[in-house]
């Protein structure tokens, strides 16, 4: 699973804003790598920033089942 998909899966599953450190922990990556990827996802409106945290963006909201079954 690539990094973007892993990040989106985590955000979809939790369905609440979470910090970069927690996202990095959950996908077993590092904050620097995740932050870099979040910026790209943010530009594509796949994630949105809520203060210092991130949540799922409008463009990614329609694929919720994918995260439940993890494929």
């Amino acid at each position: 699973m690539d990094l973007s998909k892993a990040i989106l899966n985590v955000l979809q599953k939790l369905n609440k804003p979470i910090g970069v450190d927690e996202i990095a922990f959950r996908i077993r990556s590092t904050s620097s790598v995740v932050r870099e990827q979040l910026e790209k996802l943010s530009e594509a409106h796949l994630v949105k920033r809520v203060d210092t945290d991130y949540s799922i963006g409008d463009n990614a909201k329609n694929s919720g089942l994918e995260s439940i079954y993890g494929y």
Binding site: K13, L14, D21, E22, F25, R26, R28, S29, T30, S31, S32, V33, S63, L65, E66, I68, Y69, G70, Y71
Partner: protein, 213 residues
């Protein structure tokens, strides 16, 4: 009656043990297992699989699988213990997957156990994250200070020192080499990230050897 209760108890305990061991030996949680060793979610996970094994033993009853029995007390418990051990495997039975554009749903007993496993995985991650923050706090304070004083705030020198220590403390040189060249390690730009990575990849024993308090 007492015999039945003992059989169900044997199946329950063996399924609990296997469930506990599965989490312990999983790639994802092995190095963080010390943080969830007595966590309620882990206990609940074991109890659920213990209960599934009781249901399985009840459904299979006797004679579905025959074990040649001699008259010892031990052989009497072989069947329920065997059921307990195979519970997770049976619960993961997946006949086929229904695939559509974005996702795939397993059809079989896994239809029910996969969301359950995902739920617990997510809970374990949450607990590990919170507890690891507390666990790491003292180490981070000490080694942020050490980066400034002993390594002139040069993260590359700090990381090089870690690799040297890993080579002396960890028996598997190949793993250390892979770690050194991994994307996460090469892109790590702070003490926090580096320490988290070492704990995640090598576990608490190596971590404590490299970063004594």
């Amino acid at each position: 009656m007492k015999e039945y209760i003992n059989s169900y108890f044997a199946a329950f305990i063996s399924a609990c043990f296997i469930s506990y061991f599965r989490v312990y030996s999983s790639d994802k949680f092995h190095n963080y297992f010390f943080l969830i060793i007595i966590d309620w979610f882990l206990v609940l996970n074991c109890i659920i699989y213990g209960c599934i094994s009781i249901a399985l033993l009840y459904l299979l009853k006797d004679n579905v699988v025959s074990i040649p029995v001699n008259n010892t007390q031990l052989s009497h418990y072989l069947y329920p213990v065997g059921i307990g051990i195979i519970t997770k495997g049976v619960a993961d039975v997946n006949f086929f997957n229904v695939k559509t554009d974005g996702f795939s749903i397993p059809i079989g007993l896994k239809t029910f156990t996969q969301p359950l496993d995902k739920f617990f995985e997510e809970k374990f991650d949450g607990v590990c994250f919170e507890k690891s923050k507390v666990y790491m706090e003292a180490y981070l304070i000490k080694y942020r200070h050490e980066l400034l004083t002993s390594y002139c705030n040069d993260i590359r020198r700090f990381k090089a020192a870690i690799i040297l220590k890993l080579n002396s403390f960890h028996p598997d040189k190949k793993k250390t080499t892979e770690f050194e060249s991994s994307l996460n390690f090469t892109k790590a730009i702070s003490v926090d990230e580096t320490l988290v990575l070492v704990l995640r990849e090598f576990g608490p024993t190596i971590f404590n050897s490299i970063f004594p308090l």
